[in-house]
């Protein structure tokens, strides 16, 4: 039975193979390849704007999940990657942040977002959470992140130790008589730490807390807050300005960005408490050895190297 249609099948197979060969021709893995997460690839305060301001283009941009960019860079699979400035892996993997000498990257200070309706019921939440905010500078956050990512401690243990050390909570929380209050967070280390801190601070003040930390990405956390499925999570000023409030132009002044976001989000029934000193902005990373060998310290140096045709490490 196959005899008469053999040629048809053959034709189909040939077509598939030709398409395959044609499409295989488009892959290129050499040169100044840049590993980035999804968000950074399109945001105006991400790669498109960076390339425009500094006047260069990477040979190829590979989009992957946030968090595997660090290992891809460490393992030599890409010469360049994006990361976040407070990530503990930067020092641990012997990577360097290139200096953003033209101050392109916008500000991402972090602040607890609380539903206005929840704050109406429990106004003391503001004071409780604001206690921890001034303690969080860049160095502290980086070392807390490293304790989780590199030393493989549990975020909850690290958060508890930190709060105990600063005398913000007692050894055992009192019996819960208020709430319930839902605390969420995104899925990465810093957010888990901040989320756990919020959970513990509230529990220490007699709240019955529903722990929803590690919800997923930015959009999920925000939707959960908007829908009232959680009452609190920590958001970054720059993220809210662009992603949630839909602005296209990034802001680079911490206080200005915070004020504008706070004002606009009040209309959405969301209250921004105080903001941290640390600014978890985007950073462009290289391996330390490569950067030293090529004499690249700033993003301008990198742009020059790419434009002059220096071969990628």
């Amino acid at each position: 039975m196959f005899g008469q249609i053999k040629w048809k099948l053959g034709l189909l197979l040939a077509a598939v193979m030709i398409t395959g060969i044609f499409m295989a021709g488009c892959a290129s893995d050499d040169g100044w390849v840049f590993a980035t997460d999804h968000e950074y690839s399109v945001r105006p305060d991400g790669y498109p704007g960076l390339a425009e301001l500094y006047g260069f283009e990477f040979d190829d941009v590979v989009i992957m999940d946030l968090g595997i960019t660090y290992a891809a860079l460490r393992d030599g699979e890409v010469p360049l990657a994006m990361g976040f400035a407070t990530d503990g892996r930067i020092a641990a993997f012997d990577l360097v942040n290139l200096v953003d000498d033209m101050q392109f990257h916008p500000v991402y200070n972090c602040s607890p977002n609380v539903l206005a309706s929840t704050l109406d019921d429990y106004p003391e939440i503001e004071g409780i959470l604001n206690q921890v905010v001034p303690l969080l500078d860049a160095e502290t956050m980086q070392s807390l992140n490293a304790t989780v990512d590199i030393d493989e401690k549990e975020p909850a243990d690290v958060a508890r130790d930190f709060l105990l050390e600063h005398g913000l909570i007692g050894e055992t929380p009192p019996a819960a008589d208020k709430g319930p209050v839902g605390v969420g967070s995104k899925e990465f280390t810093e957010q888990l730490l901040l989320g756990q801190m919020a959970v513990m601070l509230l529990e220490d003040n007699g709240f019955n807390v529903v722990d929803n930390t590690g919800l997923g990405g930015t959009a999920l956390a925000r939707e959960a807050l908007e829908n009232g499925e959680i009452d609190i999570y920590w958001e970054y000023t720059g993220t809210a300005w662009m992603a949630h409030l839909g602005h296209e132009e990034p802001l680079t002044d911490p206080a200005e960005c915070y004020q504008k976001v706070k004002e606009e989000d009040l209309a959405n029934g969301i209250v921004w408490l105080d903001y941290t000193e640390f600014d978890n902005t985007y950073t462009i990373m290289m391996r330390r050895a490569d950067a030293e060998e090529l004499g690249i310290v700033t993003i301008s140096d990198l742009a020059d190297a790419i434009n002059e045709g220096v071969p990628a490490p």
Binding site: V42, A72, A219, E248
Partner: protein, 247 residues
């Protein structure tokens, strides 16, 4: 004559409509991205690249699955391996329940990021329906048909080639169709391990909250799935009509 006409229409009408829909969608979203952020992802070169990466992953994985799945299914139904066949079938059924994202993540750990890892993981995932359906198709053939064939002195290979495979073919092709639809959907997850594809649009859209990116990525992959399913369906119809003519 009438059959011929109907065949031509079914061969080309639906694919044409699908291609037209895809092109119209692409032109529309590139010209109306609704903001600069979405517009940076929605360019013709970008969409073409994502589409190509997606097709490439799906076709590579599908070809590999067919090449491995069908022979494996045939082997497991031969008398000597029949007991093993039942074991493998159960293992395969359990394997299918592992989430596709977990499979991608698992192989990312060992093989690193990129296209090859994605194809490998997709291949493992898509082989299951093909293997299972080949096995089921061949074992469901009534014993007396095969006995009659053997009684006529036909050699085992010819029994397989002339009787078993043609009878099991609709089930085998149904497996390939299931596989291709699963593949197109699952390949959208390959974006998380840096393999590109239409998932780049979907995941980017989710992370910057631009619905148009999500919708474009999802719609294009749905169109691709329907398209490939249709093509394989037509191959099936062609094979069936040949069998019928012979009967």
């Amino acid at each position: 004559m009438r059959t011929l006409q109907r065949n031509w229409i079914s061969w080309f009408l639906l694919p044409l409509i699908l291609v037209g829909m895809a092109l119209a969608l692409i032109v529309y979203v590139v010209n109306n991205p609704g903001g600069a952020t979405a517009g940076r992802a929605l360019t013709y070169p970008n969409i073409t690249l994502y589409f190509r990466q997606h097709m490439m992953m799906v076709l590579a994985a599908l070809c590999l699955s067919i090449v491995v799945g069908i022979p494996a299914g045939i082997m497991l139904t031969r008398p000597r391996l029949r007991t093993l066949g039942r074991v493998v079938e159960n293992v395969v059924n359990v394997g299918q329940t592992v989430p596709s994202l977990a499979i991608l993540a698992l192989f990312f750990v060992y093989l690193g990021w990129g296209f090859n890892t994605a194809v490998f993981a997709l291949w493992l995932y898509s082989i299951l329906p093909i293997l299972r359906n080949t096995y089921a198709g061949l074992t469901s053939i009534q014993g007396n048909i095969l006995e009659a064939a053997r009684g006529m002195g036909i050699s085992p290979f010819r029994v397989l080639y002339r009787i078993e495979l043609p009878l099991a073919m609709p089930v085998i092709i149904a497996g390939i169709r299931t596989s291709v639809v699963i593949l197109v959907g699952t390949a959208t997850l390959a974006t998380f391990i840096g393999a590109g594809g239409l998932g780049d649009l979907i995941a980017t859209g989710i992370s910057v909250r631009r619905d148009i990116l999500v919708l474009t990525g999802a719609a294009l992959s749905a169109i691709l799935a329907i398209f490939l399913d249709h093509v394989i369906g037509q191959v099936e119809a062609a094979l069936l009509s040949q069998t019928e003519r012979r009967l």
